[in-house]
Symmetry: C2
Amino acid sequence: MNQYIKADPWSIIEEGFSAENQRSSESLFSLGNGKMGQRANFEEQYTGKTLQGSYIAGIYYPDKTRVGWWKNGYPEYFAKVLNSPNYIGIDVVIDSHMLNLFICNVRAFRRELNMKEGYLLRTFEAELPDGKIVRVEAKRLLSIVDTECAAISYSIEAVNFSGTISLLPYIDGAVVNQDSNYDEAFWNVLRMDVHSNEATLLAQTKKLDFQVAFSMRTKVSLDGKLCEDIRPELMKKEAWVGNRMKVQVEQGQTLTIEKYIGVCSSLNYSAETLCAESLKQAKKAEEKGIEKMLTEQASAWAAKWKQSDIQIEGDVAAQQAIRFNIFQLNQTYTGEDARLNVGPKGFTGEKYGGTTYWDTEAYCIPFFLMTAPKDVTRQLLIYRYKHLERAIENAGKLGFTDGAALYPMVTINGEECHNEWEITFEEIHRNGAIAFAIHNYIRHTLDYNYLDQYGLEVLIGIARFWAQRITFSTEKKKYVMLGVTGPNEYENNVNNNWYTSRLACWCMSYANECIGIVKTNTPAAWSRIKAKVNFDEEHEPTKWRTIVENMYYPYNEELGIFLQQDGYMDKEQTLVADLPHSQRPINQHWSWDRILRSCFIKQADTLQGIYLFENEFDTDTIARHFDFYEPRTVHESSLSPCVHSILASRLGRKDKAYEMYLRTSRLDLDDYNNEVGEGCHITSMAGTWMSIVEGFGGKRVYEGRLYLNPIIPEQWQSYTFRITFRGHDIVVTTTQTHTTITQYGNGELQLSIYGKEVIINSGEELKVDNISNR
Amino acid sequence: MNQYIKADPWSIIEEGFSAENQRSSESLFSLGNGKMGQRANFEEQYTGKTLQGSYIAGIYYPDKTRVGWWKNGYPEYFAKVLNSPNYIGIDVVIDSHMLNLFICNVRAFRRELNMKEGYLLRTFEAELPDGKIVRVEAKRLLSIVDTECAAISYSIEAVNFSGTISLLPYIDGAVVNQDSNYDEAFWNVLRMDVHSNEATLLAQTKKLDFQVAFSMRTKVSLDGKLCEDIRPELMKKEAWVGNRMKVQVEQGQTLTIEKYIGVCSSLNYSAETLCAESLKQAKKAEEKGIEKMLTEQASAWAAKWKQSDIQIEGDVAAQQAIRFNIFQLNQTYTGEDARLNVGPKGFTGEKYGGTTYWDTEAYCIPFFLMTAPKDVTRQLLIYRYKHLERAIENAGKLGFTDGAALYPMVTINGEECHNEWEITFEEIHRNGAIAFAIHNYIRHTLDYNYLDQYGLEVLIGIARFWAQRITFSTEKKKYVMLGVTGPNEYENNVNNNWYTSRLACWCMSYANECIGIVKTNTPAAWSRIKAKVNFDEEHEPTKWRTIVENMYYPYNEELGIFLQQDGYMDKEQTLVADLPHSQRPINQHWSWDRILRSCFIKQADTLQGIYLFENEFDTDTIARHFDFYEPRTVHESSLSPCVHSILASRLGRKDKAYEMYLRTSRLDLDDYNNEVGEGCHITSMAGTWMSIVEGFGGKRVYEGRLYLNPIIPEQWQSYTFRITFRGHDIVVTTTQTHTTITQYGNGELQLSIYGKEVIINSGEELKVDNISNR
């Protein structure tokens, strides 16, 4: 843990400069707008420990994988979203000294990520080695209105001297990925243009030849008066282009440079026009000016907040945390482009390559589904539909046939591209999460049209995979699933992982159910799909049903619980409470061998399964499982605590739910796992949101009905969330005594609150007393 | 399969040149002398597909490992014995054309590895692009008498022309390992000297700074007459040094160059003297001359053959094969240097890095134990003793304490350095093989002194490891061993692998037994060891016994067999016989995922265990296991068929035993697994030898008694082997009707033949009739 962020309801704030925290802060204060993202690197030179990172969504590189000895079925490459040319850079030289916070004496350092309005502000006073003192204010935004534009305002006050200040705004194409497997550079710079107050750099990725143009326009003023007489020196170095401007500054004067950036990629433009387009964007930003951009940014964020904000009264740390999570999610994905998705680190770091995991379906989709227009989620589903052919190829590589689809664990274009054999190889449960997301989407939106157009084909491909992957044990006289890795990645290649088996069977049942729906409601669509996927109506549904009815699940009679996998009870049963603090997190202190042998659970996948299918279990059963698995879970996956928080809420265990909520919501802000410097856990942030809405709020959807069962942690005065459901917007506020529900939408909404059916008309507010124990 | 080697009892012969077979032949015709080895690369230039390979024993490089994402306990590096500077090269230019068999028209090509006398001979006629024809004879040896010397005689006859022939003998330091993980060069050349008919190159490995000096002396003659008037051009290029000699040759004349090589490494000399020493060796060879070197080589090999040869009458393919295996083993390891060991590919290729695996203990030691002076095996055991501290450190890295030792799966200096996570990581059974080898050594030699001096410490460290690695299952109320990989590498991370569990328990029992022996026989030694290893005499032996007595072994009542691991019977039970030929070997056709899920076995480790502890099982039990596991075994490990051959012999199933014998003995010669181009399977060659001696010959040692139970395949007229046992040399000849046994040694020898106790005096021959069915 590392707690240095100041509590504030709307901002992330750091006070006082610490080189040790710099990498962490670079992650935490990241900006993004769905199309690009930028770590909170400094504009001026910084020679301390840093992870320089700018990312353009969808621009990736198929890096060579690293593996000792190759085996059939291993991915050909590890795709990674690239660290792109650095467009924020402004070197500052005061007389002969380069401004560099690693070297200077830094005072009054303050950094603020203003989440309400969507900008980053940094102020500090720096004393240079020669005793000169400057006061700096740097503000920047990545516009969510003009998504190809960024702007920086950078002011330097000469506190105790008069002298020459040189400003060098630049674009630097000589960037590398720190996680490059073979220390290669991934970009070639194709073209650089430079004029007064203007530069453009065109870079192309190796192998796949994506092109991105970066343009900057700059404007320098002294004490607010434009310096029109500066003749910038036009500079070009290898893969670097910029201006150098020298200004004589008198003591007390403030020199300001505004830098307007345009970024355009070949995903959206033809290559020939890229430089012109990016310059156009930079000029557009310049004409608007940073003040207007900030105003527009604030309104645009206000709209997002209206839809997705959660207010917590009486607990500023919890309030800050949930807003941080919502802010980062909305910075990462906007649903405007079905080619994009949500990487586990979003735009805040290199790890996981910016590629798509099951996190999207299992965590992010519930968030976007209830806080954004339904098309946002639909785009995420279509992303997978577009990869169906590749998923069938992927299954084919592993030996599956006849249209069986295995979606990749890690992908950017539909091909499997993971880089971690021991865990990922058998983590086939992701296939289930993708099917479940379709179900989730439909139950929230009633958009059955999606099934006809896209979803059913995906469901059939997935069901076919499971039907082949599950085999019959003549010994057990049951169907079994051998050799899998569940979401609990601290087990590898186990037999009969309950979560995977249960989810697989659900997939086959749901595919059968959806075939029935499409057949009945839209027979023409069914005929088309049936022919397209060459469906054997006589045998396939029966086979799926037979497997579902005869599936083996490991179960312990004595404990009355499903076992995580065969043989789990053979392990030495120790509890997390007995682990010395010095050995945690175990993945940083124990050998992989020891972790695999231990009973400790990274994230409890049995509980994850119970979360998905909670309506099938009574409260006692849920409690038995929770009480068995939670004390064995080390929560070393960021995806873990939220599920435990939700189930603890379900069981009315407020303290545990709150503890887990803090852990998930402040995972990055308080750096629970000593790794935030690598980037934030963007996808698990959606789990934080779920901890409130589905956890404390007790929101569920079963059989077409919305359920709410709010409880409230004792530490809070109230909390309020807003969700969309089948065309209705529902605002729920829970205090220590009562809950009020308001709905906005077309006509009345029937829902269940604390087990009681109620009907709420549009605009109406319903107030009910809390039921303290569920 | 690829069968192109001509049958011959004493030679490996290839007739007719095929560029497709070149890499395979380079492996098969390799030379070695225990200190260095050389693939059968051509002396002259060759631009076809080739794997250039010279290896100096013990000179290795800690290559960076390749792994997607690092985990605690992974090795820091992958050690590999390096491809060393090329010292055999002699470029030949005829007028303006470079002699290059990939380009020339090649006729009458013949290559012979003369195993009886230990040299390589190659003859061919080549027509150059301009129509000139040369007839070449190239002969070379790596001396087993002067182990730092090699010699080449290379003759060129001008068949249909008169012209200029240029000879360029050289030493080339610009070599790479094709298996370098990051395409790095591993050598720096420190120094090059060149004089007339002489050159020296001193190279140093990166990181570890091993130095090796290579010197050459050359001698050129025309039609047998020394060309004393040649003034060689002295040449130095980057990392390359040589002479160029132009000779005018008339039609019909034969130009011959002799190249004498000295190779000295910093393993054996101080760095400053290396160049002088290697030149001394080259000069020594030159003075001796290649003819005398060949004569000495033949006598030295005759001595080796006397001890280790197996004669097979009536089956030349089988005869050739067994000699090939024995020859390669004796080329690879001589027992002169306890720092060396036997890599799976010996000196014939790069794969497996030339490092030490459990192959040494499980396969090579039985061979050397019975065909070489006992000190040869003792050296191999001391190699592990010297690594004991490292094995304790290695176990420590994985979380084991209190002197528990886990020997590495792959090592060159005692540290774990494997490069293949999926398989090797949990293959802890190697620890058992190392203990068993000590037992094997002692039962064959009665050298109990070894226990006092070295062995017992190793046994205690290993027993301690097992006692910690095995845990108690409160569910099974038995001890279990979770998360291991057995010798059958087509399963990964399984629970209760029978082989590993059985062997582990044996280790603990044997350690207890040996403690008793040392305590009784040499109490002073026991006191010393006890103090040194801090042995808890009160608890440790008891704990070991308790585990042994309460160990859980997976067993199937219905079939009456031990199961390879928990859950094996849950797999779809198909047989190898049902696999289409087109899908074999499955490791070249199936995904790793499919292999792991299938019931197919790379090598049957349950049978391996039964082989080790055969005396504990009656014939019916052995038969039940064999009949269950053999049909499921694909033998895609070179270590597999020999064990099946031995057990088939044990069961009197001659046809199966013979089939498996051919498979193991001609694995490389007939290239069963399409991979001999990478190198020969040196360690498994010892298994071939075991298939005859322990298989057909039925040789066993139990309770201090030697047992023989010979059977003979119908295809053979007779076979003869010679083994050493407790100071006796025993020669056994079996024909279709009877077996004769002769022993040479100190006094009489009591043994059991076909279950009958007999006593044979030294020099006496015993003749018994065969018992057709055991």
